[in-house]
């Protein structure tokens, strides 16, 4: 068996669950997660020798999940849809934690792809906007714009649950990213 195929096998054996979970966070349903992970694997392995080992492959595929998620929606010509819902539709009692999480997730999944991706990278991966920018190959200012818009939508649709917009834009870890393009970090 060729090396890329062995690496693919090892990747799915060791990290498949985590990668699929990540795709599921972005897409919100199994069928789309299937497609997204499949597309990301193709992107990561279709050229050259492919990733050298499982760690590199994990990084490649995770980044491919992020960019493919954005690109797939762009190819499908899905325009970002503004959420016109108002906060009065959301759960009134924030102590209903489970319901709140569900509602939050629903709101996250209603965000446009770029905003959703940036939000997931900020609050799931714990990355700061410069690190997100480096991963996605866009400017930190653009990332902050997406995050601000996403947060504004969530606050508008779910009210203020103590969210700190400044932390959303300025917080996070700047030292997690292993992929950089042109030294933007």
């Amino acid at each position: 068996m060729s090396r890329w195929s062995d690496t693919l096998d090892a990747l799915m054996r060791e990290r498949g669950r985590a990668l699929y979970g990540y795709a599921f966070v972005l897409t919100g349903n199994a069928a789309d997660a299937d497609d997204l992970l499949q597309d990301a694997l193709v992107r990561a392995f279709k050229r050259g020798k492919g990733p050298e080992d499982v760690t590199a492959a994990h990084a490649y595929v995770k980044r491919a999940i992020q960019t493919t998620f954005i690109d797939t929606h762009r190819r499908a010509n899905v325009r970002p849809r503004r959420d016109s819902r108002e906060a009065d539709r959301v759960i009134a009692d924030p102590t209903q934690a489970s319901a709140t999480r569900d509602a939050l997730l629903e709101a996250v999944l209603s965000l446009p792809p770029r905003e959703r991706t940036c939000l997931v990278m900020r609050y799931f991966d714990g990355l700061a906007s410069p690190a997100i920018a480096a991963e996605l190959g866009i400017s930190p200012g653009t990332v902050r714009g997406y995050l601000a818009s996403a947060v504004e939508t969530l606050r508008r649709t779910h009210g203020d649950f103590g969210l700190d917009p400044t932390d959303a834009l300025e917080g996070g870890d700047e030292h997690v990213v292993i992929l950089t393009k042109g030294g933007t970090r």
Binding site: G137, H158, G162
Partner: protein
């Protein structure tokens, strides 16, 4: 809310993980991904040069070995370099028009402008390869060279192919983000002339010149891409082989003979794509470097088995001649004779001239049987070749292939897909690449120590993946290599093609 949001996302990831544990993700995700990767790698090889290295498909296990493409390059690995590498957008400043015949210490370049959304390098998982040829403004950039071509060699192979090898060095003081895979190497005979359209073949030019007017140059865009970072003073090695078929189809069809006779010097020009910053947009930048030199090597006389071959065209039938393929690949591109590579089984599907060998049928297919495995969706095709002559035939019984054309009415060169594997399965709508050329198959496996006696038979089997039944209307033929006295010479191969007429 931050904590709730983080917890919500974490729970969602865990839900996805639980789904992964319970669903057949391997069938839904990994298996189709693996098939697409294999196909993409196959098509990449097909799309980059006249001689094609094959990826394994399906049941065949072998490693991709690719030596015929545009360039040998490292994969585009992520880097953690502190100094930003210069990209196209960084260099598209301070340009001035370059006029044919002009000399300068500045960097020669070609800049192509594309309509929004028309850049063929924009990633699309469902588009394997699209190539755009354009007539683009010639430019000067900066005040000094950014790249130089060095150590170039041009070697004529005995079978009439030409091998070009070179180094491209970053002579600037900044790292460059280059895309050698998306670049083009041109072999030119009069580089300062103006021509209407040079002859091209994915990533290769051969012809008179790239100048289309006094201020515009030809450039090719699209196909594969693989940006890498080239540090100041560093170089990458490139190599490409122009097969005899490619050369004969160009406007410099006697170039190998003229190089061989010392009548012409060769000019090698590399159009090196500089990667854009982010998604490819409406401009593409190619830095150019050239070197003119005398070629080495000579065209050698071919074996008698190639004497008297006559051209064959799609749909043509003859009872007084044996169908065959004349494959002029160059010994370094022939898996049977090239330097040993790190793989057990190698195969290539070169472009070969379709020919007739006058004198009657030499072989016939006496049986062709199908076996379908509905579970694995595989189609196993077994065949039997029979010597139809009254004489022993010298054949290479290990060098066989089964061709399957699923829509043979497709016009030559318009097949929507193509696949080949190292076990010798070659398939597509049609395998005619032009009115005179077809896909062949060559392997490093050889068993040419015996003869097929009159009436003698030879059997083989090939498995195609992804079929529930034999495709309606498909046609089949078997290829087998003719063993020669001068088998050590791999510049050219003759393959008998035996169609199934049952």
């Amino acid at each position: 809310m931050s904590n709730e949001l983080m917890e919500s996302l974490a729970r969602q990831a865990e839900s996805g993980g639980a789904l992964y544990d319970t669903r057949p993700v391997d069938d839904a995700v990994v298996a189709p991904a693996r098939r697409r990767v294999r196909r993409a790698r196959t098509m990449r090889a097909v799309g980059t040069v006249g001689v094609t290295a094959l990826v394994l498909a399906g049941v065949t296990a072998a490693a991709l070995q690719w030596d015929g493409g545009r360039h040998h390059v490292a994969p585009a690995l992520p880097t953690q370099d502190a100094t930003p590498a210069l990209r196209a957008d960084d260099l598209l400043h301070g340009m001035s028009t370059r006029v044919r015949g002009e000399t300068s210490t500045a960097q020669a370049a070609t800049v192509c402008y594309l309509a929004d959304g028309k850049n063929p390098w924009v990633e699309d998982n469902y588009k394997v390869s699209t190539t755009v040829f354009d007539n683009c403004p010639a430019m000067w950039i900066g005040t000094s060279h950014l790249i130089e071509l060095e150590s170039t060699t041009v070697v004529v192979g005995g079978g009439g192919s030409i091998r070009v090898e070179y180094l491209v060095t970053n002579t600037s003081s900044d790292p460059l983000m280059i895309d050698p895979v998306g670049s083009t190497v041109a072999l030119l005979t009069a580089p300062d002339a103006v021509v209407t359209l040079p002859s091209t073949a994915d990533g290769q030019y051969v012809g008179t010149s790239l100048w289309q007017s006094d201020t515009t140059r030809s450039a090719e865009m699209g196909g594969d891409s693989g940006p890498i970072r080239l540090e100041p003073g560093a170089h990458y090695e490139g190599a490409t082989t122009y097969t005899a078929q490619v050369l004969r189809g160009s406007d410099a069809n006697d170039i190998a003979q003229r190089f061989s006779a010392g009548e012409l010097d060769a000019t090698v020009t590399v159009q090196l794509r500089i990667a854009p910053d982010g998604t490819p947009g409406t401009r593409e930048l190619f830095l150019e470097a050239s070197e003119t030199l005398a070629a080495s090597g000579t065209v050698t006389p071919s074996s008698w088995v190639f004497d008297g071959l006559e051209p064959r065209t799609p749909g043509e039938t003859r009872d007084d001649a044996q169908a065959a393929l004349d494959c002029r690949v160059g010994g370094d591109q022939n898996p049977r004779t090239q330097e040993p590579l790190d793989a057990d089984t190698l195969g290539t599907s070169p472009t070969c001239d379709a020919v007739w060998i006058p004198g009657g049928k030499e072989l016939r297919l006496s049986s062709l049987d199908f076996a379908v495995n509905g579970t694995s969706r595989t189609l196993e095709v077994s065949w039997t070749l029979e010597n139809a002559t009254a004489a022993a035939l010298s054949l290479d019984r290990a060098s066989t292939a089964l061709l399957m054309e699923t829509d043979p009415s497709t016009p030559a060169g318009e097949s929507t897909w193509f696949q080949a594997d190292t076990a010798g399965g070659v398939s597509g709508d049609t395998l005619w690449q032009s009115h005179t050329t077809r896909h062949g198959f060559l392997t490093n496996l050889t068993a040419a120590d015996g003869q097929l006696m009159p009436g003698g038979t030879l059997e083989g089997t090939h498995t195609f993946e992804g079929y529930d039944a034999p495709p309606d209307g498909a046609t089949y033929s078997v290829l087998i290599r003719v063993a020669r006295d001068d088998d050590a010479n791999g510049d050219r191969e003759l393959l008998l093609e035996v169609p199934w007429e049952g």
